[in-house]
Symmetry: C2
Subunit: 238 residues, 2 copies
């Protein structure tokens, strides 16, 4: 897709792809810029690169619970895992305070630069815009309120009300049911290949947001479209 | 449990715990020492600490496929994810050769120092010893052959024949079926809390092998026993 974009000024959707009526967005990393979480680790005296391992491990454990038929909240996993991964490190404050400082980082995240104009362009197309996060709906609400775009979204959904995390099929079904929309009329937008894979298996159309020019892992189902920012996605859906 | 061990020379099993007839071992990290994988990353010019993020991400993606109702082999995920995570780094060789060099590390792993005497002590108790890995059975076989303890194990099982990865309930059921043993007569031994949690939900007795004195994440079911090495586990099961 990236190669096609270079060859033509306006990217076009694959022939077979149906134009969605509703766009379902992942939130963490897809809309919010989580790279600043590394600074929160550094603030407490931990290595900043631990943020990446922590987030991968958080998802690992959330998906493990999902695979085992159980569930816990994103915040519970995030703070519980910090308690494990920060233990034994030489921190500049107590463990509880360090965990709190890092988790508080979620309340001050900012959006990636392409999100505000991209969401506006998608909204102007008359598309219904909804989020579905493995995190809480309140974190998403705060993120959009700070950026002044909360009213662009019809609903902010969390898997906490679905009982299962993405990428279990039930998480996507929950969102479709809440929005009273068919899977075939819905496009999932995410930076995470595991989310693309799960949504594709659940029958949704998918758009992989690849801001960094990363390769896509071959063991996951490919997205229907690949874009480097939300603006080009709006062009495709015009 | 660690506190109890300090207070009494021989740790004892909880009152309610039934002595197992079969002990089911996780393999990667539980028996093999994967810390040397960091050197493999360094060998190709990548940061050695990327090994930890890579392994957490590998499990994340394997569990994601499991949660989505799909599956892929450990080796396919390991090499596919290396292709993603090494892309863009300045390596001392081509990407394909770098991936191969790191994946080859699995064929020369060694056992943790407590494993050979611990397995011998457990075998001497007349317990049936079996492994169940998310990796391939051949990696486990090579590991035990190099250490001269392969004949201690009755079977080396892989989830590749179960169709689902641990910690999905079907993975443990597969092992129980293959061994013709009840869940209540089987003890899962693992260093990974997600494996303890899944096995516990599947009805097995569990032993958390905690060699590093790590805290246990509160969002997972606790193990029936906690030991710092396999030797103390054999003492408990005497």
């Amino acid at each position: 897709m990236a190669a096609q974009e270079e060859a033509t000024p306006v990217p076009s959707a694959p022939e077979a792809m149906r134009r969605p009526s509703l766009v379902l967005f992942d939130v963490n990393e897809t809309l919010s810029d989580m790279s600043v979480m590394g600074q929160r680790f550094a603030d407490v005296g931990a290595p900043s690169q631990l943020a990446v391992t922590w987030f991968a491990s958080l998802l690992r454990d959330g998906f493990a619970l999902t695979a085992a038929g159980a569930s816990a909240s994103f915040a519970e996993l995030g703070s519980g895992l910090l308690g494990v991964q920060l233990a034994g490190l030489s921190l500049d404050r107590g463990l509880t305070a360090a965990v709190e400082h890092i988790m508080d980082g979620f309340t001050s995240l900012e959006l990636h630069p392409d999100v505000v104009p991209g969401i506006a362009a998608l909204a102007d197309l008359g598309l219904r815009l909804v989020t579905l996060s493995n995190g809480s709906a309140s974190v998403a609400a705060g993120l959009f309120e700070r950026a002044g775009i909360k009213d662009r979204f019809e609903q902010l959904l969390s898997v906490e009300d679905a009982g299962v995390w993405k990428p279990a099929p039930g998480s996507y079904r929950y969102a479709l049911d809440r929005c009273e929309v068919k899977a075939s009329e819905t496009m999932l937008v995410a930076v995470h290949p595991w989310d693309i894979d799960g949504a594709s298996r659940a029958g949704l159309t998918t758009a992989w947001l690849n801001r960094t020019g990363s390769p896509y892992p071959g063991y996951f189902r490919r997205a229907d479209v690949e874009v480097e920012a939300l603006g080009p996605l709006a062009q495709i859906l015009t």
